[in-house]
Symmetry: D2
Subunit: 359 residues, 4 copies
């Protein structure tokens, strides 16, 4: 298979840099265009970006000239990943989709749009079909999004429960890593030896996005899952890995703790058949040691694409309590978007521009 | 008022040291005896203890000779504070009570004993009357306990809700400071830049002690509060201050957010009349800034005796969510025990040994 | 004694806020005017400033209207403290001095000016006389500065060595707290679990300012001390307290370790006679425990105005090695400036404006 | 080449675990025997050890039965790595060497023995010849040691300076990671947000071992390098990577900064010819960015076997100042020992037991 040519929108930011790092040596995708603000346009990437990833900037990227995020500057790519800030993502992503360029976005702007898939490949791969309904998109173009970084471990763990028992309501507290705030992000004076009990804008996303993700596709529309979520999002002095303490009240009572543990342990990924390059072999891992999972020990497992679960408990009313954890900037952002792109390739939705151009 | 002569059992440990620090210059209590294991007995305190409090060891204490924790060694005190480890507290505290020496204990051993008050002065001062029923106590002796360090901010905040609305069930996640594990306690390799999702032995206490504390005294017995608690206890890299994310489902639905905020803001401490030396002027403080409370900024307020509340939210079903925080080693341990002793003095239960000795 | 009316230039910044906190309840000085940039002018302080001190903003300050830093706005003060950023301090401080308003500055701009005292009261109180030579100052006005935050513990510990043995050369490594970079300052992603081997602009100050401070006043001019300093400034994940590892090669060899320890222990502050409100009773404290001093345990001692010394060693060549530590934002900045002002009052140099105005 | 069969002495400790992790998949060495105290003997390794490495315990090791560290239990290995605690290493290592089993040790006990090589392959490979003089060793047996973890980056950076300019004296301050203290090691209460100005037992090693390492082999004996070292060892809240601030006074003055930078940049490893599996391709890396090296960013480079240098400065007297950093538990301990073993193989000193046993 020939590589697809990928552009990166918002290439100089924290998410854009993570895309660049994760796509180095990707077997299917090759970065051929980098987009940023007009201020960076025209400069080689090494000068435009303040590279903060803890690995060297790939040489093949360092010399690429940064382009302004205009569609006419990207007529040589097959699709784009978007790590754009939400303040500009709405306008730019729509322009790209309208001009026929597929957009795989990490931005929040279109996540809740009824015709845009909010996609986690292991959870709702069928939602991909929504892209056929995007009236705002031009020929061959569309937008697909991945959820907020907390939502990934949440839906990965709720999905099996929802299918087997039904979920009535969820109460969770997140302990989120500082990398989630980008760079420079959280001032050290705020967080060293401290916990912040609030993250602006975070809780509404955690309380809404899972309902769409776990919703069912009926007659071309997503019917949201019918439960409520109450989230309290906190910031802790951890580098990578968001840890969630989740309590799920279920419709049907499990027979006992072992049944729930078995459910998590034996869960089968629907991706197994596709052999996607970024898919973890075990996307959900059930820890039986009470001390696990920990962000420090487990966030990087399976190339930081795994969701770890632990401390499962079941009370007399059938409420299941557990902790869940995933790497927030890989699985929860750029890595999740790349997995989305891989699924779209496997499903035949993402193809070389030359093949899909009608004329 | 003349000072009461206080002994400290477990004086060389972390809780014992905190007692010593907090009682320096106390207007009512004067430390006159220090008890520890046989290994330390006979040594001056400065040699027996590895002093870790961040203030100098009081000179008046440094030279005191440490005694073994036998009742015959403490016949010159009016009462004792116990910071004993639970592995020995059960036997020793019982011996002291049986021999007529009142014990104000921070240990867990007798907290759930039906005849022992589990006491938070602002919450259940009437439970003091249980001490009259302690058959295991000798003339003038008794045991009073304070709860686990997480339970303090939990019952301080649940108490007003329970009284006004009734509590149906509680789900909480605690983010607990490293000082809660004593010294040497948590290895730095485990916690630096990390969160531990489990604290051995902690959750059962959090799930049971509040029910006794918020219970009602009926015919000399405590009838436990009738709700359930689900706790997930985690350890975070914070020095002092346990932060709780609490969700309380209520029997009667509040009219709205403002009503709940008003309830917390206007809550009146039953201690106001007593003018106890260690009582905070505002034991419950309602923060309106979403970023507050934080362990780093607020744990030390009001000499570390205050419970801080913030982030109050009410959902459509009347479930109230909020965060609560208190200093774990002061309010949650030694400071709480000292406040218990002060209330017992104010209520006439704790008096000079000479006055209560029958013969 | 009546209070002197003090203005604060740069009142909304980190240093300005520290001035406000430290001057609350000061027996000699009362803040009556707050100066900041034109952007803040006209607003009440509580709205102009993002208050980050870990204590509540004093009520008496919260409502004060912020003024632009123009001399005509400050004709009602006796003097000003300057916490201005160095980008503007040069121009503004000169204007104030020229217009007859004494300036006690924490900014670096005039520290090395030959006619401006670079003052540490315990070290070079006689340098105050330089203010009589300031041709740029108007009637009654002058500028006095305090040194860089690392320089305080350095000259406090070198001063006794220089006087008794003579110093030939100094090599030091500083481990500096994050509060030294202000707010938002150091990003948490840079410093959590890390050490930064460089602090921009810091080393040249550490290598030059002590030479002026330890210089001798001869015929109205400072002759710099004649030794060399090599500094390596690093940033560590500590909140407050700069720790220095110092090696001083001496002209005359000490007789041994005990002699040097005695020198530090018996050092007498020249301030003892003045009874200044902010002067620590023991400005220099010699720790004999090898594990001390530590920023966490000792930075706050004596209201954070003390320099702590420890780990003194002497090698065969007479080189003395030790660690020294002081609180960087109190003793090393605002607190040091306040102590300077107190000395100037005691020496009769700082007086009510009414008394010194000629016409 | 067939694998050599390696035993691990002290296999359950922190260094032993690191040996096991680093030797998984090693092309030359295969672990076939694990030694620990009598308490662990007889248990499978997975039960005997509290595995703390952040990767899973290799399956091939988990089931190996732990043996007591007696020579008769290790007659089936070609040699042993020793991660023994110094309290027992002296006796056990000598017994192994005496019985004809080569010992590659990380313990300090024999480092300064005149007949034992204290070896850093890039620095003093010729010192290997000392093993022929070990009278305490039996037929085919010997002991080779690697230095203290701080000494590695120190001698890696001093070695080129010593050869070209001669070193007169060295003053250094180390900022050492918590992993250097093993597990449980440094209590979090001591180090979170703090710096400890002392590490027991560390400075004498730093001040003596480099002199042997940089010494010259003359007539079968090491003549120590003739300069003095003054070290101040501190502990910082960093996980891995010891950072050193070094000042080296030189015999011959460099012509300037560029000459010293060139020296470090163009330094050639004497190992290049050998192609050792664990040798970094560039054992010494010269950073030109003032902010580098940092433990967090650079300790893991080249499989954590590299020494990073930065912030090079030269003063008027020819004193060179710089920072140096290396991973303390890999390059500074188990990894360094493995590299020693590889060099010994390449030099023909370490061979299969069968080949060297005379009878």
């Amino acid at each position: 298979m020939n590589s697809l040519k990928a552009g990166i929108l918002g290439a100089t930011g924290a998410v854009g840099q993570k895309f660049i790092r994760l796509l180095e040596n990707h077997p299917w995708f090759k970065i051929t265009a980098l987009g940023a603000s007009g201020r960076s346009a025209g400069k080689p990437y090494r000068k435009a970006a303040n590279w903060v990833e803890p690995v060297p900037l790939p040489e093949s990227i360092a010399g690429l000239e940064v382009r302004e995020c205009k569609t006419t500057n990207f007529d040589d790519v097959d699709f784009v990943f978007s790590g754009l800030d939400s303040s500009v993502a709405g306008k730019i992503e729509k322009e790209f989709a309208a001009s026929g360029i597929p957009v795989i976005s990490n931005a929040k702007n279109f996540r809740m749009h009824p015709d845009v898939p909010l996609l986690v490949p292991e959870v709702n791969p069928d939602h991909i079909d929504l892209i056929d309904r995007q009236e705002f998109s031009g020929d061959g173009g569309w937008i697909v999004t991945n959820p907020n970084c907390v939502v990934i471990p949440l839906v990965m763990s709720l999905s099996p429960l929802e299918k087997v028992y039904g979920v009535e309501s969820v109460i969770l507290t997140s302990m989120q890593a500082i990398s989630g705030a980008g760079y420079p992000g959280v001032p050290s004076l705020d967080i060293l030896g401290n916990v912040l009990p609030f993250i602006p804008g975070e809780e509404p996303k955690i309380e809404s996005e899972p309902l769409k993700l776990l919703g069912t596709l009926e007659e071309g529309k997503v019917r949201d899952a019918g439960f409520s979520i109450r989230a309290t999002a906190t910031r802790v002095p951890v580098r990578n890995g968001h840890l969630l303490s989740v309590n799920a009240s279920l419709t049907h009572k499990p027979s006992g703790l072992e049944e729930v543990i078995d459910l998590f342990e034996n869960w089968q990924s629907p991706l197994a058949e596709h052999d996607l390059p970024s898919a973890p072999s075990r996307p959900l891992w059930m820890h039986k040691n009470n001390d696990h999972p920990q962000p420090l020990l487990h966030a990087e497992e399976e190339k930081a694409m795994r969701t770890s679960i632990g401390r499962v408990r079941v009370d007399d009313n059938g409420t299941v309590s557990f902790v869940a954890m995933a790497h927030n900037t890989v699985r929860g952002a750029a890595g999740g978007a790349i997995l989305n792109a891989e699924l779209l390739v496997a499903k035949g939705k993402l193809t070389p521009a030359a093949e899909r151009s009608p004329g």
